[in-house]
Amino acid sequence: MTQQAAKVEQTGTGTPEQVRAAAEPVLPRWQKTELARHPQRPDPMAFIESIFTDFSEIHGDRAFGDDPAMSCGFARFQGQEVMVIGNVKGRTTKEKVFRKFGMPDPEGYRKALRVMKIAEKFNRPVFTFIDLMGANPGLGAEERGQAEAIARNLREMSRLRVPTIATITGEGGSGGALALAVADRVLMLETAIYSVISPEACASIMWRDASKRALAAQALKATAEDVKALACVDDVVPEPGAGAHTAPEEASRLLSEKLAWHLSELKALPVEELLARRYDKFRNIAQFYTA
């Protein structure tokens, strides 16, 4: 606990944020959750813009609409033609509302799948970048089949006949994140989190009190370190300094290096071998049971 936080706790005075921070126990996993959600943290589009060149956006799901929370397009990665997909969070308040705070609707997932199929047809690798709280919970999303859109992506990504690399850059929120992350390689930034449920929602269900979010974060073990230890991601990407937001360019460079290395490994594999390995990885993932 910082000195200032201790003072706030003793005196009970300070700004509302300070009082709230003092009331919340300092738990390392909750601190990482806050870093993963840092307002200055580069979002997927920021990483895409600095890692790739010649990004050319592809819009629409050909069925209902174009989801502003999901951005897809072809681009060049160190000169190679690739397909890039990322959710968009927006930077200003107005843009955040327009982008639905980065939470995609079914048409977003369907657009992503549509461009993956284009990549498959022309034999280009697919990169996805994920930083979202979850799929958008809304009336329209349910009417248009949010669950079906996610389910289809899981199945189709598991058998897409090109190399795929998914990166969780900030928050990997449940099914909405997984719908872009059934990939040959799944990477996580060092202070990213990847979880089945947000700490807030978990706290309100299990503790019946959303303010117990720090405790929930501690119990959920969703930090990159934890998730890697559970073998649910393939690699953890280091971040500069106190987090990606402190040196975005350096963070991009570190991620770019990892992406290049994984891509070269995947490209060396014949496609049948690639698919067999991807299948085996997910078929044997997370086996925590006794016979």
Partner: protein, 280 residues
Amino acid sequence: MSWFKRQGNTIESGVEKSVRTEGLWFKCEGCSQVIWKADVEANQQICPKCGRHYRIDARARIEALLEPGYELVDLELKSTDPLDFSDLKSYKSRLKKAQESTGLNDAIVNATGMLGKHRVVLSVMEYSFIGGSMGAVVGETIARAVDRAIADRLPLIIISASGGARMMEGIVSLMQLAKISAALGRLDELRVPYISVLTDPTTGGVTASFAMLGDLNIAEPGALIGFAGPRVIEQTIRQKLPEGFQRSEFLLEHGMLDAVVDRRELKSYLSRALDFMQPV
């Protein structure tokens, strides 16, 4: 002097004389009529007056669908509590309690046997086991059902009843969505039939994976089916949800289901569908 004299003292009065009347009747949630419970039980847990479907446990479901002589399989797996999770209670104690009350190791039962004239692999979720939630055991058990269907080229039927992924297993439970969906992709490529039956309730990660990936996705009447829970949506959009939102009939109307089938017709519907799906 009394008119009668007790001859011996052999009458035991230890047994309390009472007739149990409580719980024999109940008010139906659908039609508000008073229903004799035994009538519902004899009718596959369906109200004989209005047809409201009540929840049914996994073993009763298998009994109703498969011919006698079926076999229960893959029952041996047990969760190892990968996160060592604890909230107000520990996950281990929740597991133990659920295991004692249901007599199952986890929220899933696999069976193989005959459905009419078709040999099938049947996987049924048990809602009364921690809300039918899906952790590593449920995920692996369903994946094994898919493996069986692949190995013997047998039609697969999965009956869902689940609140979604089991949050006490964190990221491990999320990975089960990918595991099962990948296995179903392989089943699909081999052209082996897969029918998904959604029952009350089917939400969250279960809907967002195998429950929506059937060659046919069918549901029982009035079942709650969705991705986000209705309370979450209400809190997000801050308005009341329309009547019947996320019920089977609503999904049918929005093109998300192939059919809504009464439980009493389910067996004949499945049998008919499997006739169509036989390889020619």
